[in-house]
């Protein structure tokens, strides 16, 4: 395991950070969160074509950039810091599951178009039961036709292509799971944009009324498991970035804000809150980065480590969000102050792919306790 980034990885981080500083300042985040599409297509194409972020971690022979989950984690940390509004997480979900589930040639075909920014794809997994594991799939695939509903589909409203998890009629658990590809405007598909608590990440509900779709995998459980592990790692990294950005904002404000003739950051109440927060943020970063490394080196403990990281980062980000508002005082609760943007990302991502408590239980189960 590596505990330090290589110079190339640090350069990559700098490049992503510079890009996001330019293209995703808070004003732009505010513009895009009110935009129905939720992202700027030009910026997204640039991210894909100039920075190669589209399918960063997918092997080259499957249409990706051939970097590792470590680089993916770096990108997500930075996106969490900048609160990027773009179909990035959805692309990671889509390209990962396709690369894992499909035969090489088919994977390359689908992934390379997503990676080039030519096509937006979304993974339609979760349903009304709110479960994030493959076993929660209830939508039926029957003779190449899909019947059922998906919800919480990230960027599902804007996707050109849907990758749909389904199951054979009568099957349960991890048996009988399949993956299907279908154009988002195919007959029988109804999509609606959901009102998201975090307006910087769009969610859709999608109904499938006997929709003809191409099956790309009829044994989808392993690919979905792996995809969810990678997704948890990515969101853990993102949340570590969110937490870090919030901490920095709180500390900056505590240095400037005067009350009772002193900077509020000179009061131990604030000072010690920041110190505790730094510790929690650093621990969360370590956990997220370690999990990313574990994915990179194909550590067999990845499921446990991904759950550990997701739980740790979600808790750290929520604490950072709460503390950042508290340290700002009243101003931190206003719409014009940017803190709530990160707060809402933290709150929403806290439950995305499972609550911290759910992941802690999964960590124990994976550790065979």
């Amino acid at each position: 395991m590596h505990f330090a980034f290589t110079p190339e990885q640090e350069q990559f981080r700098d490049a992503v950070r510079r890009f996001l500083r330019d293209r995703s300042p808070p004003a732009e985040v505010r513009r895009l969160m009110d935009d129905e599409r939720g992202h700027d297509p030009g910026v997204w194409r640039q991210m894909c074509q100039e920075l190669g972020l589209g399918a960063l971690h997918v092997p080259e022979d499957r249409g990706g950039q051939g970097f590792s989950v470590t680089e993916l984690g770096i990108a997500f940390e930075e996106m969490g810091r900048a609160l990027l509004c773009a179909p990035y997480l959805s692309s990671v979900l889509a390209t990962t599951v396709v690369a894992e589930a499909c035969a090489q040639e088919e994977a390359e075909q689908i992934v390379s178009r997503i990676a080039a920014g030519e096509q937006l794809a979304a993974l339609a997994l979760t349903e009304a039961n709110g479960r994030w594991d493959a076993g929660g799939v209830e939508l039926i695939a029957d003779g190449g036709r899909l019947r059922g509903s998906k919800t919480h589909v990230i960027d599902g409203h804007a996707a050109d292509l849907l990758i749909v998890a389904a199951r054979a009629s009568g099957s349960t658990g991890e048996e009988g799971l399949s993956l299907h590809v279908v154009a988002a405007d195919a007959p029988g598909i109804t999509r609606r944009c959901l009102t998201a608590l975090d307006p910087t990440r769009k969610l859709a509900g999608i109904d499938f009324a006997n929709v003809e779709a191409r099956c790309i995998s009829s044994d989808a459980a392993p690919a979905l498991r792996r995809t969810l592990d990678i997704a948890c790692v990515a969101v853990a990294c993102e949340l570590a970035g969110v937490a870090e950005a919030l901490l920095e904002s709180a500390v900056d404000y505590a240095k400037l804000r005067m009350q009772f003739g002193r900077a509020v950051g000179s009061f131990q109440a604030i000072k010690h809150k920041c110190a505790d927060l730094l510790l929690e943020v650093e621990l969360a970063k370590s956990a997220a980065r370690y999990a990313a490394e574990a994915a990179t080196v194909s550590d067999a403990d990845l499921p446990a480590l991904a759950s550990l990281a997701k739980a740790a980062a979600a808790d750290a980000a929520m604490r950072a969000a709460r503390d950042c508002i508290q340290i700002h005082g009243g101003i931190g609760f206003t719409w014009d102050n940017d803190t709530h943007l990160w707060f809402k990302r933290a709150k929403s991502a806290e439950v995305l792919f499972g609550t911290p408590a759910w992941h802690r239980e999964r960590l124990m189960r994976c550790s065979e306790v």
Binding site: T195, A196, M258, F260, F333, T334, W335
Partner: protein
């Protein structure tokens, strides 16, 4: 503990007197303002106030008797919504006779609405650090600066203004208290939107706003003492948001008018129950979603119920002690701190219960967005009305007697570091 007032002879005679008066005068089809003018004349609207000023000089202990008789008949009382009674209590204690003559009656009748102009962007926890200035020009003062968190400023007729008149003395000594006419060009009220989308408060900007010298309350430089009176009444819950809603929609013109008045006054507070965490919804939500079968969630719910119920019992202990004649102390700060903890834990529990649906808001969210509103409103609880940090200082210093911190703001205000 009995909820009824003492039944000593004076209580009985007061009860008889108010009952007779009400039976003779109460009419649910009366006009609201006309009725309240009657109350102001009779003294029954504020019976503990001085006889000279619309009251009857009754001792506080007998007030419940009068309230009970009003309640028995469903008779409407004086206007209590908004910060009217804070204004009235402050003017009663510190105002001149001219102030009382001019302002009190229209407060009681509800014809005038008031707002409180204390907080500033630069002085949140540190109210005495106000930098809005009032400079004397002959027979009036010119006010410049900015206030914030002002509830109802957009429809207020008058504002209770705390402004700095002297920059060369320590900060508490350079403040003066004014009654400011909100209807003038130099006053610009703008709504302040919160992170939950509501805009319950306002920012108020002053550009050469004019206050005639006769609107000065108490004396120049005595503003902090006057403000403390207002704040103490506020802490006692005299802000008129409790107990104003009638159990059912009674028929009669006066009730209609009262309902309208209350609706306007309560509008900014409609998200306050969500801010407090809506503990009341937890068990039924857990059962409805099936999360009540999850042991980890059960632990968190039990922690929440333990905190919430214990806090309720603690408040009732404090009230019972008060009824036994012990003075109310800073236990309010304990309750405030508890409510922050409860709101935070409630938000945590609602998140666990909602699971994936915690990502949704508005019509798509659980309970039509109510749960989402809890999640994004709770952070206000530990800030509004004095941050948790300020409450902990108050508790530590005033209840536990721990020593104060060294102060860095005791010199002339001009030299105090500020934003």
């Amino acid at each position: 503990m009995s909820e009824t007032a003492p039944t000593d002879p004076s209580a009985d005679s007061v009860r008889r007197e108010v009952r007779e008066w009400l039976e003779a005068n109460w009419d649910p089809n009366e006009d609201l303002v006309a009725w309240r003018n009657l109350l102001a004349d009779s003294g029954w609207g504020m019976p503990v106030w001085p006889q000279q000023w619309h009251g009857r000089d009754l001792p506080q202990a007998l007030a419940p008797v009068v309230e009970e008789e009003f309640a028995r008949l469903g008779a409407v009382g004086v206007a209590k919504t908004g910060i009217r009674l804070l204004a009235a209590a402050t003017l009663l204690e510190h105002g001149s006779d001219a102030h009382k003559a001019r302002f009190l009656r229209r407060i009681l009748t509800g014809e005038d609405t008031w707002c409180q102009l204390f907080s500033e962007p630069g002085s949140g926890s540190d109210l005495a650090g106000a930098t809005t200035r009032a400079d004397r020009h002959g027979d009036h003062f010119l006010v410049n600066g900015q206030k914030v968190w002002t509830t109802s400023a957009h429809h207020a007729d008058y504002g209770l203004l705390l402004a700095r008149t002297d920059w060369d003395v320590p900060k508490h000594q350079g403040l003066t208290y004014f009654v400011l006419d909100m209807h003038q060009e130099g006053v610009d009220v703008r709504p302040l939107k919160q992170m939950n989308g509501h805009a319950s408060f306002n920012q108020v900007f002053f550009t050469d706003a004019v206050v005639p010298a006769e609107n000065l309350v108490s004396a120049v430089g005595n503003g902090w003492q006057v403000a403390i009176t207002t704040l103490m009444h506020e802490r006692r819950g005299a802000d008129g948001l409790r107990g104003v809603q009638r159990e059912r929609d009674l028929p009669g013109r006066i009730y209609e008018q009262e309902r309208e008045e209350i609706a306007v006054a309560l509008e900014p507070y409609k998200w306050y129950p969500q801010r407090a965490g809506r503990v009341d919804l937890v068990l039924e939500r857990a059962q409805a979603t099936g999360r009540n079968t999850d042991p980890a969630t059960r632990q968190e719910i039990a922690k929440l119920l333990t905190m919430a119920r214990s806090a309720e019992w603690t408040a009732r202990r404090a009230r019972a002690a008060q009824q036994q004649g012990r003075p109310q102390g800073p236990e309010g700060s304990l309750g405030k701190l508890a409510s922050s903890n409860i709101a935070r834990q409630a938000s945590h529990v609602h998140t666990l219960i909602a699971g994936a649906n915690a990502m949704l808001a508005g019509e798509d969210g659980d309970l039509n967005g109510l749960i989402a509103e809890i999640l994004i409103s709770v952070p206000a609880t530990s800030i509004a009305g004095g941050t948790d940090e300020i409450q902990r200082n108050i508790i530590a210093e005033r209840v536990l007697g721990l020593p104060k911190e060294p102060r860095m703001d005791t010199g002339p205000f001009r030299d105090v570091k500020r934003n």
